[in-house]
Symmetry: C2
Subunit: 508 residues, 2 copies
Amino acid sequence: MNYTLERMTPLSACRLGLDTHQELTIYLRQDSPVCRSEGFSALSRVLVRTEQRHLIATLHMVTGELLMPGEIGFSESAWKRMGLKPGTSVWLSHPKPVQSLSYIRSKVYGNELQAEQLQEIIDDIVAGRYADVHLAAFITACGDDKLNIREITDLTRAMVNSGSQIEWGLPMVVDKHCVGGLPGNRTTPILVSILAASGLTMPKTSSRAITSPAGTADTMETLTNVSLSLQQMRQVVEQEGGCLAWGGAVRLSPSDDLLIQVERALDIDSEGQLIASVLSKKIAAGATHVVIDIPVGPTAKVRSQAAAEALATNFQAVADTLGLKITTMFTDGSQPVGRGIGPALEARDILSVLKNHSDQPMDLRQRAAEVAGAMLEMVNEVPPGEGYNQALELLDSGAAWDKFQSICQTQGALKEPPIAPYRYELIAHTSGRVNRINNRQLAKVAKLAGAPADLAAGVDMHCKIGDSVKPNQPLLTIHAESSGELSYAVEYLEDHQGIIEITTCEVV
Amino acid sequence: MNYTLERMTPLSACRLGLDTHQELTIYLRQDSPVCRSEGFSALSRVLVRTEQRHLIATLHMVTGELLMPGEIGFSESAWKRMGLKPGTSVWLSHPKPVQSLSYIRSKVYGNELQAEQLQEIIDDIVAGRYADVHLAAFITACGDDKLNIREITDLTRAMVNSGSQIEWGLPMVVDKHCVGGLPGNRTTPILVSILAASGLTMPKTSSRAITSPAGTADTMETLTNVSLSLQQMRQVVEQEGGCLAWGGAVRLSPSDDLLIQVERALDIDSEGQLIASVLSKKIAAGATHVVIDIPVGPTAKVRSQAAAEALATNFQAVADTLGLKITTMFTDGSQPVGRGIGPALEARDILSVLKNHSDQPMDLRQRAAEVAGAMLEMVNEVPPGEGYNQALELLDSGAAWDKFQSICQTQGALKEPPIAPYRYELIAHTSGRVNRINNRQLAKVAKLAGAPADLAAGVDMHCKIGDSVKPNQPLLTIHAESSGELSYAVEYLEDHQGIIEITTCEVV
């Protein structure tokens, strides 16, 4: 059908400066002749072509004067993907049906998906041929346990194939993943330091925060340069055995990033997609040995020991088929780890563990050593418990701290994390025992205070569950970079007195 | 959490003139302080409040200069639903989780949905609390046969409860529905005329075209006034026993309109949602007796007799429980009905059947009489075949034509359908027999010619499958209201010679 369109007058591209995230979006005037002749209406899927490129986008209509007649507007994502300049000629037509959507329908009707079908689905997702509603249908159709081990394995392979893959040319490259993060659980930088100090290769890429007050990349940014190209990563890893980079510069398993956005909106768990997401990123990153940390707790992603064990079994089955060596471990997911919540405050905790300070948060030290220990036990085949001891030794000897400093220097700098100028201290009004800490509300306070965009902002905890407190004893300190943000956070705190729950009458 | 926001400076409402269809959308500058403090990003769901109203909307970010600092943009749907004026004060916050989304997750995990859960889902959909991705998840989770008869019945009830309901105060009100329309299958106006003439009450509301070249409301608009309020409908029905109105003015089963948009995008059939959609609209419209016409054919919605029978059984079971009398019938779904494709051309076919012209399209007459007959047999308890004969008699006697004229007059006018000034005739180049007609491409030609917005535009067919044709015999005529649109349609036709396939060598 393109013939009609090529004979038609093209539209003129216009950058509207609208960020619709991953949903590639175009904008047309409601009175546009092409809408009329093609029968396009709001939310139609449209094939958009220039002389060089094409993509499928979702149509939004302009009823006002944002566009002149003859213009077509583009969302930022669509503008960039099409490589447009203002005024570029654009033709529109109906896209051919996306064949792989029929495989999703087939899954809804209860059929197994074959390897080639899963590959086609993932390739179409990466090519931008799925609207968000199609991603939602795929996630829902695969929800719960609707993918079997063979399908999960093929989905993982398809996700690896769809993006870049890093080859390290080494027999052993280690990595770790934590299923469903806990606030302040910033073990990764400590872990990389311990394992690289022990002689292993651990080229770690991490993400920035999406909904939390800090991601590992945000935290590391307060200490060094994390925006490394693949070539820079290789140099650091070659020299130091490990790196602590932001993953955004490398395009590993790109379909995963698109699916995760919609999964978050739906909050529908798919065990198959979780396993494929984690393992595809690790395989694409060139890992050969991976520790999977599964925190278990009433408010964690995995809520019971039975669920954790079932998940671990399936992780193992898929990894075995794909030739990836993994070990799974279950950790306490009932309360936050460390003291700081926010990039710089978490960085301070990391430094304090690595430097072996007397007031270091022992839970963070211990958890990092446990995960490192599990890795050492897997790759060195040492008896259970021995890896943990070796990890503690590398911390105590200063070897991990030396390694961390070298990695940061090689990445470009070892900086001091910034300190926030504005503070507010919450104090206890009664004596008693800390009974409960509301992690969700704590994260909210840290974000109102400015984290993660303000690197120094966040919350510093001065108590843990079970601690005894006395009147006027500080419970937490809010850190902020501006007085306005500090007062948002303080107001919120004042209206949520129960964030830290203290029981005055104890049953002993 | 509202306290923080009420103490914050409100944003100023700005109408951007963007039609995002049903997805309620707001627009914020990327550097907006509220994005930072609340952690909103593109596609976040946001609670939007004025002093009077609130809703949940999806956030798009403005990276350019479309908004001034301190402004918030609204899509047309969100602007209207909030009843805004330029500059209205608006506060934003995180919405509470929508509880009913957890029921959809529960369905994904294989649990049955209870009546109250289905009601809550439908109420939240109508209240605009679902983003399109949530609608997609609901449709997918209920796809195929994942709703049982009890769930379908409860879903139907929930959909009826969620909108307006019309009470006619009569013991019998008849209606009909056709599952998956065929091009040109414009039986409804004929049917209403026959049945009202026979003394039945048939207050018919119809839709406009969404993807086809004409809906019944578009066709009737060329003959009379179809934009009736509920009160006007009542007056016409009281006086004439029937009406032919556009359904848009009455808000029946509003969740259905929202779900249908996303169902179309996904193309996932859910038998349960189909049944609930059809029956909820009929019950809400106050019908007591309904004929369900199920066309069966290789390119129809229902493709086999077995599938049609299974569907009919489930329709019957749900209708029985809800106290609705229905009869299902299976009709030929293999080729278009009548000659005209486009509002005015279809209106002409209707008039020709009602006026009993010698050259009337016999297939349209016969099909209308079959559906009317099925209704007469159901409500009058006459023997099979007798209803069909009675329907033909009402056509032959002129009673149906009289009734049609009275209905149109009472609705405000009986107009002549417009005639298009621009024509193009496609002629046969060989002699032979018509073997195949591509309905999809024919619809495309009619739309390129301007249908349904140009009421006179469309395609007039001069042949049916099985007809013998000779060289220079006209096969079809394109009608258009402008020369530009005529040439789009002709160009398309020239490039798709096989729209009407003629076989020259026949096996006799």
